[in-house]
Amino acid sequence: MTAIPEGDWRAEVKERLEAIWGEAPGLGSWIATADHKRIGMRYLYTAMAFFALGGLQALLMRTQLADARLELLDPETYNQLFSMHGITMMFLFAMPALSGFGNYFVPLMIGARDMAFPRLNAFGYWTLLAAGIFLYSSFLVGNAPNDGWFNYVPLANREFTPGINIDFYVLGLIFLGISSTGGAINFIVTILKLRAPGMTLIRIPIFVWGELAMALQIIFALPALSLAAVLLFLDRTFGFNFYDAAAGGDPLLWQHLFWIFGHPEVYIVALPGFGIASAIIPTWVRRPMIGYTYIVIGELAVALVGFGVWVHHMFAVGLPNITYSFIALASFMVAIPSAIQVFAWLATLVAGRPRLATPLLFVLGFIIIFVVGGVTGVMFASVPFDQATTDSYFVVAHLHYVLVGSAVFPIFGALYHWGPKMTGRLLDARLGKVSFWLMFVGFNVAFFPQHTLGLLGMPRRVYTYEAGLGWESHNLASTIGAYLLGLGILVTLVNWYWSKARGVPAGDDPWLGETLEWYSTSPPAHYNFTTIPTVRAREPMWDQLELRGGAQPPEEGGRTLTGGHLTLSTSLLDGRPQAVVHMPQASPWPFILSLTLMAFFYALLLQVWVVAVVAVLASAAAVAGWFWPRGQTQET
C-alpha cells in the first residue's frame, strides 16, 4: 500500500505479490486452488485423457471395420463405442481442451491477475471431471449410452431402450451443462471487465474474441440441450409424454431442441480453434494479422448465423420445403464469414515471412483440412445432395474434416506454441514435425476414402458390412490412416511429457510473440505479472518496448497492486481503470459442491429419492459455505 520502493523495486514487488498470491504445496491447496493457470492445466490434462479414451474407441471401431464381416466387436458394443466416441470427443475433449487454453491464456492475454470468478472456475473444472466420471462409469456396468451422440427418440425412449444407458446420457449431459454454463459466464465477464488499462475493444487479441464468441454461444445454445435432456429424463423416469406420439407428444421436438444446440456446438468447438490459428500465425510470420476487424466480425457473424441453420441436420425428416429453403440459405450464408477468416489467414501468410515450425505447420494443416470440410459443408447445404447422402459415410467424412480440422489441429499447434509458456521448457522440434506429418497424412488417409464410401452407399453406424460391395479397400485404407493418426498423436503426448521434465529451458518469450502472455515469466508466477501493464497497441509486445523487461515501470503505466489479493476492473468499451477488486481466496467448497452434485445425479440415475433430497440439502449447504462473507473479498 505504499509508494514504489527505491532500488530494485521489481524484486521487492515480486516478493510482496508472492506472499499474497502464492499457494503452499499440499493436498489442501491442490483441492482448493482457484488459480486459473492450475485449473487451465487440469482442464487440458483431463481433456487429453478423455481424448486418449475416445481415440481408443475409434481405433477399436476402425479395426472392426478393416474388412468385411469381422467379429471383433458385437453390435451392442459397437453401438456403445460410437456413441461414447462422439460424446467424449465433443463434450469431454474438444470443449474442455479449448476451455483449458482459454482459462490459462485469456487472463494472461488481457493482462489480468485471474478470471473474474476464480471459485466458479474451480467449480467448472471439478464438475467437468465429476460428469466425465459419471458418464464413463456406465462402462463399468456395461450400459454405456448406445443411441449415438444425438440420441434420437423414439429409439431413446424407455420403451425401446429400457436399460439405464440413456439415463447416463441425459443426466451426464445436464451435469456437464452446469460446468459449461458457469465457465461461459466466467469467460464473458472476464473479457468484458478485467482487461488491462488501455485494452480497448479493438485491441483485444483475436483468440480472446474467439473464446468470447464461444462463451456467448454456450449461453444461448446450451439451454436447448439441457431442456431436451430434462424432458427426456421426465419421460423415461416419470412417464411424461413429451416425446411419446401416442400421448400427444412429438419425437421431432427432440430433433429440433437437440440441433438448436447441436449446430452452434460445432462453432463452439470451431471458433476458439480459429482463434488459436489467429494467435499462432502473426508470431510465426512476423507481422500483424491482416484484416483484424473482418476476422472479429466474421467470428461473431458465424456465431450469430450458426443459430439459424439447425434444420439442415433434419433435411431428410420431411418438413415443409419453405423451411428447407430458408435454412439452406442460412447454411450457404455461413460459408461467407468463415471464408473471410480463411482469406485473412492466407493473406497474412503471404504477406509475412512464414517460418515453418511445428505450430505453424499445424495451422496450415488446419486450414487445408478445414477448407475441405467447409466445401463438403456447402454441398450439404443443398437439400437434394443432403437427402441423397444423409446418414452415409460422406457425413462421417465431412464432420471429421470440420471438427478435427478446426479443433484438433489448432489444439495440437497450441501445445507447441504455448507449451513452453506453460511448462517453461521447449518441446522437441523434430518430434513435433514427425507428429504433425503422421497426423496430417494419417488423418487424410483415414477420412478422405470415407467420402467415397459414402457415395458408394455405405451407411454410418453399422458394425460390419457384406463382402463384395467394393467397400473393403477403402475401409482398410481408412483403418490404416486411423492408426497413423493415433501414432502421430502419441508422438506429441510423449514429446510433451518428456519435454516437460527434460526439454531445453524456454525463457520467457522464446518466439518473440506479440501478445501479453509473453510478458509473464515461463511458467507464469502465481500473480501472473509483476505490474499490470497499460496497453497502447494491438500487439503490445511488439510496439511497447518497455514491456520486454518483464515489468512495465509505474512511470510507463504499470500498476503493482501490492495492497492485497487484488486485480483491476476496467470499463467495458475503452478499458479505463474503474476499481480495484478484492479477489476471492482459494476454497474447498467448489470441490465439495461438485461431489454433492455427483451424488445427486447418481441418486437420480438409480432413482433413490431419499439420497437425492439429502444431496440437494448438502449442495445448498456447500453453496452457503462458498458464499459465506469473509472480510474484504468481493461479495459474490
Binding site: 514504489i4 449461453i219 480495484v580 477488486v581 452457503a624 459474490t636
Partner: protein, 211 residues
C-alpha cells in the same frame, strides 16, 4: 460479522492514483455474472414456451385435449397479483440500502419473501392438487407441459426464496451498507426476472388455451 477496516480507496501502485474498492451495478463483476445467468435462464424458458406451442400446434385443433377443461383464470390472476406485488418491497429494499437505509432493506426483503412464499404455496399447495384431480403429467402431453412449465417456474421461486432468506440473515447481521450491497442488488435482479417470467407462464399456460 467482524468489524471491517474503513477503507474507501486502494492504491494501485501508480504514484498518486487511488481507485475505489467496492463496485455496484454494471461496474461490478457479480452484476455481470447475474446478467448472463439470467440471459441463459431466459433462453431456457423461451425454449420451454416454444416447445409448448410447437407441441400444441402439432397436436391438433382441440386444445386442451378432450376430457380436460380450459384452465380457470381466477386463481392464476390472484396469484399473479400476489407475485407481481412482491417485486415492490424487493425494489424498496434494493433502493433503500443504496442510501444505507437498513430498515427498508430488512423489511422490504421480509415482505417480498412473504408474498413469494404465499405464491409458492398457492401453486404447489392449491393449484396443483386441484389439477391433479383432473389430470397428471402422465395423462397426456398437455399434463406434461402444464406441470413442467409451472414446476420450472415454482422451482425458480423456491431458489429465489432461499437466496432471499440468506440475504436477510446477513442483512440483520449488518453485512450491507451504502457501499457494499451487490448481493442485494443481484438478488433483486433475479427476483424481478422470476416475476417477469411469470407473465409468460400466465400467457402461455392460462391465457392461450382461451384464444
Amino acid at each position: 460479522m467482524q468489524a471491517r477496516k474503513e477503507l474507501t480507496v486502494a492504491e494501485t501502485g501508480l504514484p498518486g492514483e487511488v481507485l475505489p474498492e467496492h463496485s455496484e451495478g454494471p461496474r461490478a463483476f457479480g452484476w455481470w455474472g447475474m446478467v448472463w445467468l439470467i440471459a441463459t435462464e431466459a433462453t431456457l424458458f423461451s425454449l420451454l414456451f416454444g416447445s409448448y406451442f410447437y407441441l400444441r400446434f402439432r397436436y391438433g385443433p382441440i386444445w386442451p385435449p378432450e376430457g380436460i377443461s380450459k384452465p380457470d383464470l381466477v386463481l392464476p390472476l390472484v396469484m399473479t397479483a400476489i407475485l407481481w406485488s412482491s417485486s415492490i418491497p424487493v425494489h424498496i429494499a434494493d433502493a433503500g440500502i443504496r442510501k444505507g437505509d437498513q430498515g427498508r432493506l430488512r423489511w422490504g426483503l421480509a415482505a417480498g419473501s412473504m408474498l413469494g412464499a404465499v405464491f409458492l404455496f398457492m401453486t404447489v399447495g392449491v393449484e396443483w392438487p386441484e389439477k391433479l384431480r383432473e389430470f397428471t403429467p402422465a395423462t397426456n402431453v398437455y399434463g406434461s407441459l402444464f406441470f413442467t412449465i409451472t414446476g420450472f417456474h415454482a422451482a425458480h421461486v423456491l431458489v429465489g426464496l432461499l437466496v432471499s432468506l440468506w440475504t436477510q440473515v446477513w442483512a440483520w447481521r449488518g453485512a450491507f451498507d451504502e457501499r457494499r450491497h451487490l448481493s442485494v442488488q443481484n438478488f433483486a435482479m433475479y427476483w424481478h426476472f422470476v416475476d417477469t417470467v411469470w407473465a409468460f407462464v400466465l400467457a402461455t399456460i392460462y391465457l392461450s388455451p382461451h384464444l
